[in-house]
Amino acid sequence: MSLAQRILDSDLRAAARLMRDLDDGFRSAAEEMKSLYPHTGRAFILGITGPPGAGKSTLVDQLTAAYRQRGRRVGVVAIDPTSPFTGGAILGDRIRMNRHAEDPGVFIRSLATRGHMGGLSRSTGDVVNVMDAMGMDVVIIETVGVGQDEIDIVRMAHTTVVVSVPGLGDDIQAIKAGVLEIGDLFVVNKADREGADRTARELSAMLEMKQTKPGDWQPKVLLTEASRNKGIEEMVDEIEAHHAHLVDSGALERLREERSARQFMDLLRERLFAEVYDHIHVNGRFREIVEDMAARRTDPYSAVEMIIAERFTGGQTPNS
């Protein structure tokens, strides 16, 4: 039986294996995804992002518990960085989530970034789709600890929560571009620490400066203490409120469309590149071009035009 069929029959090992094949870039995984794709598109996708040590994993653990209490099945995709030197990784997000290990309504998968920038792994979208096909009602994506510019999550998730903690910087940090622009909800975790109220105030002030139209979603700032389960119910309520807003305003449809377009473009880019690269690697053109560039007999711009012409237009350059 195919992995896809086994996954639809609730076989956890098959699901785990397909996620591995996707992560390892196996071509066979594409065949399986073809059969699973019609069964996707039902899950609500929630993104949790924020700097290292902000308490993302602990929040995800508490959110998982809260969603389970509300009767939802929960998938978790937790991403940690790959070592740029050895390719190895220590994936430690599960440490905070062990109490859900035996709950059949929870499936947790750790992924390493494997060199991918943007806070997610290349495989994240596909792994989310597998969980969706497994019948998870909510899929929570926990990004790597982010700095200021890793914002892939906003294109993957329906609702994005930006987690902050007191004491990371002054209010100018809060008006910079990047991560702070993408939150549908802001959470100041470790709210028992000194400065939590100030951090929340600065975030609120930043949000108030944002130009909005009537009917636009107004992101709130909430205080939580994830390790003591404080503020979690309010957080889930606010996430649900955002979800309802997305549905009512028609924004969810638009997000789904954007996500589809993006997935198609990413795959197209990847496959086209692999197709061309494999070809010129095997026939020796790659080596030739690199050598010609070193000797300044050609430049990368002309070389790319030539290769595209050879591969797609039967030798005619695009401009001729």
Partner: protein, 134 residues
């Protein structure tokens, strides 16, 4: 075909709170280029097996310093078997008397590393004995 990255779960079953050894091993595996799923302290065998399945690991490495190895390690092997997952290699390390090792191997533990073993030799053993499952 594309190459697999080896995935290994490192965890501490049972009640002892000494995780220095497990962390050193996790770090050595990372430096060897493996992906380590580190599940931390105080794990039940059930939690470990469930995590191993969800994470699709090739091997489970368990550190035990509590003396409960004769109960915990065979239990992990047994649960893996019940879940049709005994293709996942189990190895252990810690303060484990030599006399207990044959019984553990009988129960399905592939190797047992005792105090004084270098991290290099453990990495070497993994490279030779744990193949990424096809």
């Amino acid at each position: 075909m594309t190459e697999r990255t080896l995935r290994i779960l490192v965890g501490k079953p049972g009640l002892d709170g000494h995780d220095r050894g497990a962390k050193i091993i996790a770090r050595a595996f990372r430096d060897a280029g493996f992906e380590v799923i580190y599940t931390g302290l105080h794990q039940t065998p059930e939690q470990i097996v469930s995590a191993a399945i969800q994470e699709d690991v090739d091997a489970v490495g368990l550190s035990i310093l509590s003396g409960a190895h004769n109960a915990l390690l065979p239990r992990v092997c047994q649960l893996l078997k019940e879940k049709n997952a005994d293709d996942i290699v189990v190895f252990g390390g810690g303060v484990i008397p030599d006399d207990d090792i044959p019984g553990l191997k009988q129960a399905g533990v592939s190797e047992v590393f005792t105090p004084g073993t270098s991290t290099d030799s453990i990495v070497q053993w993994v490279r030779e004995n744990v193949a990424p499952r096809a």
